[in-house]
Amino acid sequence: MVSQSQRSNALRCLAHGVAAASPPQAVMAASRRQWSHVQRRARAACLQLVTALIFLAAGLATPTAAATVDATLDRDSVPAGNAALLALTITGSKVSQIELPEVENLIIQGRGQSRQIQMNNGQTAVSLTCTYAVGSNTPGTYQIPPINVGVDGQNLATKPLTLKVLDAAAVQPPPPSGTPPAAEEPADTSGKRFGFLTVELLVKDRNYLYVGEIAPVGIRAWLPQDSRVQLRSGIQPEGKAFTLHNVSERPQQSTEIKDGKRYTVVTWYGGISATKAGKYPASLSLDATVAVRDTAAPTPRPRSGGPFDDPFFDSIIGRMNTPMIEKEVTLKSDDEELEVRPLPGAGRPDGFTGAVGDFHLDSWEMPSTWKTGEPQQISASLGGSGNFTLLNAPGLTPPDAWKIYPGKSDLTPGDAAAFSGTKTFRFSAVARHGGQQDAALSFSFFDPATAAYKTLTSPPKTITVSGSDLVEDQSNITSAAAKQPAPPQDPLVGQHAALSPVGALLPLCARPAFIRMLGLAGLLCVLGSAFAGLRRRRSNPARLAHAAMEMATREALQVAAHCADSLDVAGFFDAARRAIQVQLGARWNQPAPAITLAEISARIAVDSPIAKFFHAADLSAYGLHAAADLLPEWRVLLAEALASLTPTTR
């Protein structure tokens, strides 16, 4: 059996082989390796050609079956806008023509053809199958008339066909046979459609933890991709066996595929601890509002025609149009049991306070000189990983030589979940005995990796304690020594006992008083500026000089008027000239006594009232006493002289 495609492939290979057998100049220049590759391909092509020719010769030599035509539809009905597949099978060696009928509102489009050659009991049957898509946008029952086909010189016709086109809104189309079903989300019947949680113990080579140990865990929320999620609570343990600690506030996000489904995975890190030994389900829950795409909802009709007439685009657009289902759900983890082992009773050190983990003494400081009864500050930094909450300040050894007071501690976390880090202790201690002593810091913890208690002690430091031994009640010492490990502290800071003053919740800026105060401040600034301006104006030297000049002029004119009234001609001229001198002196920036007739004659016209008046005044001053009856004329001349001085100058 040789198909048409095999034959065309053989021809293509033949052409390639011929081209390779007569290489052009470019191929000649190619490397020997390339040339051998071309030779191999040419040989293979020749072999395929020979095989195809043998089959063809066999086909031509053997009798062929009688020509037949047949048409079938892959379905009887189809929704409007969709198409059924019509297969036209023609058996015969030579097909001359195919006449497709025309039916109103019915669309028939060719979708390709395939040829088959069958050899059966010496007979060769060559068949051609043409495939057409048949459909309509108008509902109704369509009769497809016989299709006339010319084959082997005969005119054959198919039997008529009937196709029902249904209203698309009323019916969903069944998936066409032979075509793969659309990619759908697998129906989720496990109750995890909206996501779920997983809890993973992040302890190496261990699947258990010890009482009091804070074991690091990774809590992962698996949320369906393309879902919208809003968290409504924090991660909570379902039972009372476990407690979560320091769950990271900023989870990490990634995309992962699980069981063939793509998820958005949100991962928190934190610590988990238990107070009782046993096996308990480590189930956690998380309240969230999750919106996922409703894959059960009817999908939109596939698009036909246009640039997006492709199943690929149908899938994308279909997903975009799929409605969302929003639900408030509680994501839960599987109830996988976690073993909690008790801390061994044997070998428990006296100073053990419940710290479980792996700790070390980073640094410590202690003064070298002490005095009995006086507290001294000691600081120590313990690093490592574990439950820092139960890690108390290291003790001073030997224990009976010191009295220790509780101090402060600060934890510097080394990771997001505060599982590792450094805890710094600052506390005070009082030496009970005088003299030289070797002091060291010591603390104990349980190491879960080795399942054993460890006690770390700093190198001893020799300190000098002055003063005499303290005398105190021995019962206090024994009771303090026998004190049990402190229970875990309540994280909630306690009540305030003092009554604080009454305050206002409304801030000042939200009250009208704020605007008034700002307005008052602005007013004060304006007032200050005004005062400063006034002060500057009052102390201006030019203004002061001008005022003095005005006053001197006014006084001189008053004296002149008085002398004129008393017919004192000499006094009149003296005072009047002084008034003009003051005015001109200020104008010419010269001392008033320096203004003489010569100065005036040099600057002003000789026939001006000022020059005339000064001339008359000089005559009067140098012995030519004018008659008192001319005083009115001199007064008029004085008025003209003063008027000739511009107001600005005055």
Binding site: Q230, L231, R232, S233, G234, E249, T289, E328, P491, L492, V493, G494, Q495, H496, A497, A498, L499, S500, P501, V502, G503, A504, L505, L506, P507, L508, C509, A510, F514, M517, L518, L520, A521, G522, L523, L524, C525, L527, G528, S529, A530, F531, A532, G533, R535
Partner: protein
């Protein structure tokens, strides 16, 4: 004048002494109930003290502790936030507020630089307001004194310039802080875990989402017994019943229309 002021001060103290004593005894009683584990009764007592006396930081703090013990994180965070308006640097308050936020998974959205945020929140809005008003009044007074009297000695000039510069700096910093924190006037806290943001201000309206107890929301206009709210950091916005959300600053949000 001084004598009359002293007399007035003494009179004020004497008049307030019984009220103060009553408040102290009520606080002690409420604290005793808290210590006995009767948190609901303690919360009621603290509420009564606040109703009678007015807002007190310590009482609001204790009230928040009571609600936190009752696992009512919405009212607890509301009480802590109100206490923070009065004592913004109280370490106990900040620690318990962080605990409540953590328990309610109602974390604050860090919008700005954390260091800048810490600087802005170091003082309450009231303190920043007083800083601005004080600096402005100081500058105004300085202007009047300098303008009216002048500086008696030339050596005082640098001191006055430094003081004015500091006041100006305080004014600018305070005004900047108030501007950057202007959104806080309309902050509200969701009281119930089931409190829903509705499509319209009606009881039967569709619930668009539940922000969760203790979450901060931005309060908008009021409409009857509903307030328009926006949940920061999300696209969730709608109407929420007044019984399910409370403004941190009384009168927060816009008046109803």
């Amino acid at each position: 004048m001084k004598r009359s002021l002293r007399i007035a001060g003494c009179f004020f103290l004497l008049a307030n002494a019984p009220l103060q004593a009553a408040g102290v005894s009520a606080l002690e009683q409420a604290n005793q109930r808290f210590a006995a584990g009767n948190y609901a009764a303690a919360a009621a007592d603290y509420d009564q003290i606040l109703t009678i006396d007015g807002p007190r930081a310590s009482v609001l703090y204790n009230l928040g502790n009571s609600y936190q013990r009752l696992e009512q994180y919405g009212p607890a965070i509301l009480a802590y936030e109100r206490a923070r308006l009065l004592t913004p640097r109280d370490p106990d308050l900040l620690a318990n507020l962080t605990l409540a936020r953590k328990a309610a998974t109602a974390f604050e959205d860090p919008r700005r630089n954390p260091r800048l945020e810490a600087m802005l929140n170091h003082y309450s809005r009231d303190e920043w307001s007083w800083l601005v008003a004080g600096a402005a009044l100081f500058l105004g007074g300085l202007a009047v004194l300098s303008g009216a009297l002048g500086l008696p000695r030339r050596s005082w000039c640098p001191a006055v310039i430094i003081a004015a510069s500091l006041a100006g700096l305080a004014l600018v910093c305070g005004a900047g802080a108030l501007y950057l924190r202007r959104d806080e006037a309309a902050r509200g806290i969701v009281l119930n875990a089931k409190a829903g943001v509705r499509l319209s201000p009606f009881d039967q309206a569709e619930v668009l989402g539940t922000p969760g107890a203790g979450h901060s929301v931005r309060l908008g206009a009021a409409n009857g017994p509903f307030h328009y709210v926006e949940v920061p950091g999300t696209s969730l916005c709608g109407w929420m019943a007044d019984s399910e959300v409370a403004a941190i600053t009384p009168g927060g949000g816009k008046p109803g229309g």
